[in-house]
């Protein structure tokens, strides 16, 4: 398939360049699921499990079925041919973990803000953060069962987003859906940074 001596020892190989995409959003919105859906390696994380004691600290009304949460961050990896490796970082949504955000957002290609229509306000801090920082981002509404469906335009309005910020529906458990969100984000990041998107992209087809 690929020509050339692919079995060269690591030390003789040129190191690829790593790029990263941040997945942010509120508590229990599906960040961990999305990272796990697309990662080629077992997602790694540093985690502290929140139990009943966290009720009142981390409000889980509306997401009662979620018993634990990730309070650190998790990350997955996708190898892109030889030159690049893409890392996905699911960042803690709670503001008390903001000390980690700058480190994770620095040098990011872009960000996905995951939203849950049952608790839309949970993603306000993430939206604010990336707007302020100038990181290209899109909003992906994770479609939970039992959640009321809203019009994308309604969500755009509710989040007070500019027309330039794409909003889309997704299913964090579906590989195809996550792929589409990631591709749309990369296209949006290109546009934001003044690079002409490829003419054969679906939006122009």
């Amino acid at each position: 398939m690929v020509s050339g001596p692919s079995s060269l020892p690591t030390r003789a190989r040129r190191l690829p360049t790593a790029v990263k995409i941040v997945i942010a959003g509120g508590f229990g919105v599906g960040k961990t699921t999305m990272v796990g859906t697309v990662s080629e390696t077992k997602p790694l994380r540093t985690e502290e499990i929140l139990t009943d004691e966290s009720v009142g600290v981390d409000d889980i009304s509306g997401v009662e079925k979620k018993k634990t949460t990730t309070v650190a961050m998790d990350f997955g990896r996708i190898t892109m041919r030889d030159e690049y490796v893409l890392y996905l970082f699911g960042t803690p949504g709670q503001e008390r973990f903001w000390f980690m955000w700058d480190e994770v957002a620095l040098g990011a290609l872009g960000a996905i803000v995951l939203a849950d229509t049952r608790r839309l306000s949970d993603c306000f801090p993430s939206v604010d953060y990336f707007e302020r920082r100038g990181t290209p981002f899109i909003v992906a509404v994770n479609c939970f069962q039992g959640a009321r469906q809203y019009d994308l335009a309604e969500i755009q309005l509710a989040l007070n987003l500019g027309p330039a910020v794409p909003v889309m529906l997704c299913d964090a458990r579906s590989l195809d859906s996550c792929k589409q969100v990631l591709i749309d984000l990369v296209l949006h990041a290109m546009k934001t940074r003044g690079l002409a998107p490829n003419q054969e992209e679906p939006q122009n087809a």
């Binding site: 690591t10 030390r11 190989r13 190191l15 690829p16 360049t17 790593a18 790029v19 990263k20 599906g30 961990t32 699921t33 796990g36 859906t37 697309v38 390696t41 077992k42 790694l44 994380r45 540093t46 079925k65 979620k66 018993k67 634990t68 990350f75 990896r77 996708i78 190898t79 892109m80 041919r81 030159e83 690049y84 490796v85 893409l86 890392y87 970082f89 480190e103 994770v104 620095l106 040098g107 990011a108 290609l109 458990r173 590989l175 792929k179 990631l182 591709i183 990369v186 296209l187 990041a189 290109m190 940074r193 003044g194 690079l195 490829n198």
Partner: protein, 139 residues
């Protein structure tokens, strides 16, 4: 009762955690505190080590090298294949600041080489975006 998320964990093999297994006591937690591993240092002597800086081992294993401990050796072993600082942190279950100091030591003594990520200001290379889109489509 179990969380319904975490799909397909069987896709990935469980990897052993050599340092952690030996130095973790069920009741009292880690027996070696992170600052002991770094001899109290909080900054690496060399390198910034971003979360996605890629690291790979070069040359011989640092077994028995002066001033290096079991955690250094564990890092060098993990880096037999190219690995990011974030992944090392996850595999070793150590704080990132600790891993950075240990990586600085390894870099100092020539046991690893590394590739820093593109700075944000340089994100105007269209090849990068195309490679990422192609890679995503191939998933």
């Amino acid at each position: 009762m179990m969380p319904p998320e975490e799909p397909g964990h069987d896709r990935w093999q469980d990897d052993a955690d050599p340092v952690q297994d030996r130095w973790h006591d069920e009741h009292s937690g880690p027996m070696v505190r992170p600052y002991v591993m770094t001899s109290g240092r909080i900054e690496p002597t060399r390198g910034k080590f971003d979360l996605i800086t890629l690291v790979v081992s070069v040359g011989a294993e640092p077994d028995g090298a002066v001033g290096l401990g079991p955690e250094h050796v564990a890092i060098a072993r993990l880096c037999q294949s190219v690995m990011s600082v974030a992944e090392l942190t996850g595999h070793l279950n150590l704080p990132i600041a600790t891993v950075r100091v240990l990586l600085g030591d390894l870099l100092d003594q020539g046991f690893i080489s590394m590739q820093e990520p593109e700075p944000e200001a340089d994100m105007h290379d269209i090849r990068l975006y195309k490679a990422v889109i192609d890679g995503l489509r191939a998933l």
